[in-house]
């Protein structure tokens, strides 16, 4: 067992160096935020998530894919059909020419998924100092701390403490396990103009993009909670009826 553990640890270290230093988990717990989607009645904040889509498209999408989200899904965030068609058509999607068999590009349609920024993992690593930017479609589900972690991480960049020796090309983040992460602070310098009055501060962008990615991770969350209330209410009433029946039937046996 000890040998097994040692070899696993060695593998973890090697993988950590390659994937952006996540060997140790010593980061502080992310502060809990008051999300509109948390709680048993939670719903997604659609205005914020729509702005978050803009942040994803203009900042994150340069490196991060969103492979499980289709353009047609955006109607769930309150976009109209025409808006979704417009957004889809702004992307170029790979297709095969039926006459020549050659690969070519065409404008996206609502049925398409968000195209990935890189052709494959090797291309992504080559462009990113050997780090692989993860797909974001499940990022909120796939991290301990969920939305709180993602939000804290996006705003968690700070100058490294003096006693830490930074590895070349990595950045210090207070909330990242191991603290040294390949992704730089993207929000501080982001030049982004929201369509409405809301000002695109880093804190606002982090809030919005987290709302968007929380929705992307579990688009059926609202249906789940609504169904849950119907099921729970039904079961409570049913339990009451069953308890009354049981009492009546057992009345002569106690």
């Amino acid at each position: 067992m000890r040998r097994l553990k040692t070899s696993l640890l060695a593998a973890a270290l090697v993988a950590g160096l390659a994937g952006g230093a996540r060997a140790a988990e010593e980061a502080p717990a992310p502060p809990a935020q008051d999300w509109q989607f948390s709680g048993m009645f939670g719903t997604y904040d659609r205005e914020s998530a729509q702005r978050g889509l803009q942040v994803y498209r203009e900042v994150c999408a340069a490196c991060h894919a969103l492979q499980y989200v289709a353009f047609r899904n955006l109607t769930e965030l309150g976009f109209g059909e025409a808006e979704v068609e417009q957004i889809a058509s702004e992307y170029q999607v790979e297709t095969i020419n039926r006459d020549t068999g050659e690969t070519e590009m065409r404008a996206g349609i609502p049925a398409d998924h968000f195209p990935a920024p890189f052709a494959n993992e090797a291309a992504a690593r080559a462009a990113n100092n050997n780090a692989y930017p993860p797909d974001l479609s499940l990022i909120v589900e796939a991290r301990g701390g969920g939305a709180d972690y993602l939000h804290a991480f996006l705003l968690g960049y700070e100058p490294p403490p003096e006693d830490i020796e930074m590895m070349p090309g990595l950045n210090y983040n207070r909330y990242f396990p191991g603290h040294q992460v390949a992704m730089p602070d993207m929000l501080s310098g982001a030049q982004l103009q929201y369509a409405h009055e809301v000002e695109a501060t880093p804190a606002q962008m982090a809030w919005d993009v987290t709302n968007f990615l929380a929705w992307a991770s579990e688009p059926n969350m609202e249906a789940r909670k609504q169904t849950g209330w119907a099921v729970v209410l039904f079961l409570v009433v049913f339990a009451g009826i069953m308890y009354a029946s049981k009492r009546k039937i057992w009345a002569d046996k106690h």
Partner: protein, 433 residues
């Protein structure tokens, strides 16, 4: 156990016609209708039926998930995401199945500890208990292989660690591991065979459950007093008494289940399993699902070589031994008294065992370092001490409390008498009102 053999007590002519040729309705009526059942069950006795219901729920949701799942390393993860996003009701099927596994284990663990507390494994129910342990083992195998199917990080590394255990067997271990995996490492052949077995084993479990229930209907149920029913005043027909009582328990259990499925579906899962499997990146902590944690702690507790047995093989033996010894429980416990109610000393050790298993579970979830290792080792030692040394010895020395004369007497002293039964009252029934 009713011996009534009126062949067609049914009025409906269709049912009569079928029943004369194949007495299904007579059998159902005998085993689930008039089946004489001790009248003093508490709600702990509902968990067998609840576990049965969970098995049916798992098979039903599982079949529909299988229609949409792709057992291939390239597609497994995304087919699960397709189920979650694009299949109608897919998210509900998957969350029911995922949390259903946990709640199946919750029901079975309560069912097992109930059996332990009330001595349900003692003669003449030894085989009934052993069939139950067999179901438990099959459930563990099924749950483990099911956990691998989504092909997330925890899926992959759980498969790696658990099959790696077999490589600890001297001489033939590596060959066994290769044979289990279908290749030198966890890969597509592993996923394919795990999928095939994960589909098959629930039906094997169902078969053993039928035997388990058949054996139960030969011996009849144990009950909280642990004494056998002596006459009709001690029993009630299964229907309508226990159908209504169990149904109420089922609905309450479903209420808890629904709270998790609809409001915290990922609470018992691990976030890393939403990351696609990556053979090059080991998760910081590889943790099994909660229902395996006590056994995982026992596995890791053996971190020292014993003579020619390596630490790894020792952990492997200890983990399997901790379950296999349950097969011998009917003979390890030498006490003639079944119910722990009447075993004043064992009652404390039972609570200690319960606490011990919880400590083991907690230790299984923590990294094996520092003081944790020692605590897990002490807890493992107590687990084996309890079953292998304490149970055989305690039965010889312990003076049990006086048993009630009959089930009816113990029930009526509690409810009819309007006061809690004291040992004296139970010992001298004639002094009661």
């Amino acid at each position: 156990m009713a011996h009534s053999s009126q062949p067609s007590s049914f009025r409906n002519p269709v049912i009569r016609w079928i029943d004369r040729r194949l007495p299904l309705f007579t059998m159902m009526n005998k085993e689930y209708g008039e089946f004489p059942t001790p009248r003093n069950f508490n709600y702990l006795w509902s968990f067998g039926g609840i576990a049965m219901l969970m098995l049916v729920l798992m098979i039903l949701t599982g079949v529909f998930l299988a229609m949409n799942y792709t057992a291939h390393t390239e597609h497994a993860f995304s087919s699960v995401e397709r189920i979650m996003r694009d299949v109608n009701g897919g998210w509900l099927l998957r969350y029911l199945h995922m949390n259903g596994a946990s709640f199946f284990f919750i029901a079975v663990y309560i069912h097992m500890f109930r059996g332990l507390y009330y001595g349900s494994y003692k003669a003449p129910r030894e085989l009934l208990w052993q069939l139950g342990v067999m179901i438990f083992l099959l459930m563990m195998a099924t749950a483990f292989m099911g956990y691998v199917l989504p092909w997330g990080q925890m899926s992959y590394w759980a498969a790696q660690v658990i099959t790696g255990l077999f490589s600890a067997i001297p001489w033939i271990g590596d060959s066994i591991q290769t044979w289990l995996l279908g290749g030198p490492t966890v890969d597509n052949p592993t996923l394919n065979r795990f999928y095939a077995l994960h589909f098959l084993l629930p039906f094997v479990i169902f078969g053993v459950v039928i035997l388990h229930v058949a054996a139960l209907h030969v011996t009849g149920s144990n009950n909280p007093t642990g004494i056998e029913p002596k006459g009709p005043e001690d029993t009630v027909p299964f229907h309508p008494y226990y159908t209504t009582k169990d149904f109420f328990a089922v609905v309450v259990f479903m209420l808890f289940f629904a709270m998790f499925v609809f409001f915290a579906p990922n609470f018992m899962g691990h976030p890393d399993n939403y990351i696609p499997a990556n053979p090059l990146q080991t998760p910081a902590h590889i943790v099994p699902e909660w229902y395996f944690l006590p056994f995982y702690a026992i596995l890791r507790a053996i971190d020292f070589d014993i003579l020619f047995i390596t630490a790894k093989f020792g952990g492997f033996i200890a983990m399997f031994a901790s379950i296999i010894l349950l097969f011998f429980l009917p003979w390890l416990d030498t006490s003639k008294v079944r119910s722990t109610r009447y075993r004043p000393i064992y009652r404390w050790f039972f609570l200690l065992l319960l606490a011990d298993v919880i400590v083991l579970g907690y230790m299984g979830s923590q990294p094996a370092e520092g003081i944790n290792v020692l605590i897990a080792q002490l807890a493992t030692a107590y687990y084996f001490f309890h079953f292998l040394i304490l149970l055989p010895i305690l039965g010889k020395f312990e003076r049990p409390l006086p048993l009630p004369r009959s089930i009816a007497e113990s029930v009526l002293s509690k409810h009819g008498g309007g006061r809690a039964p004291s040992a004296e009252a139970a010992a001298s029934p004639e002094s009661k009102a």
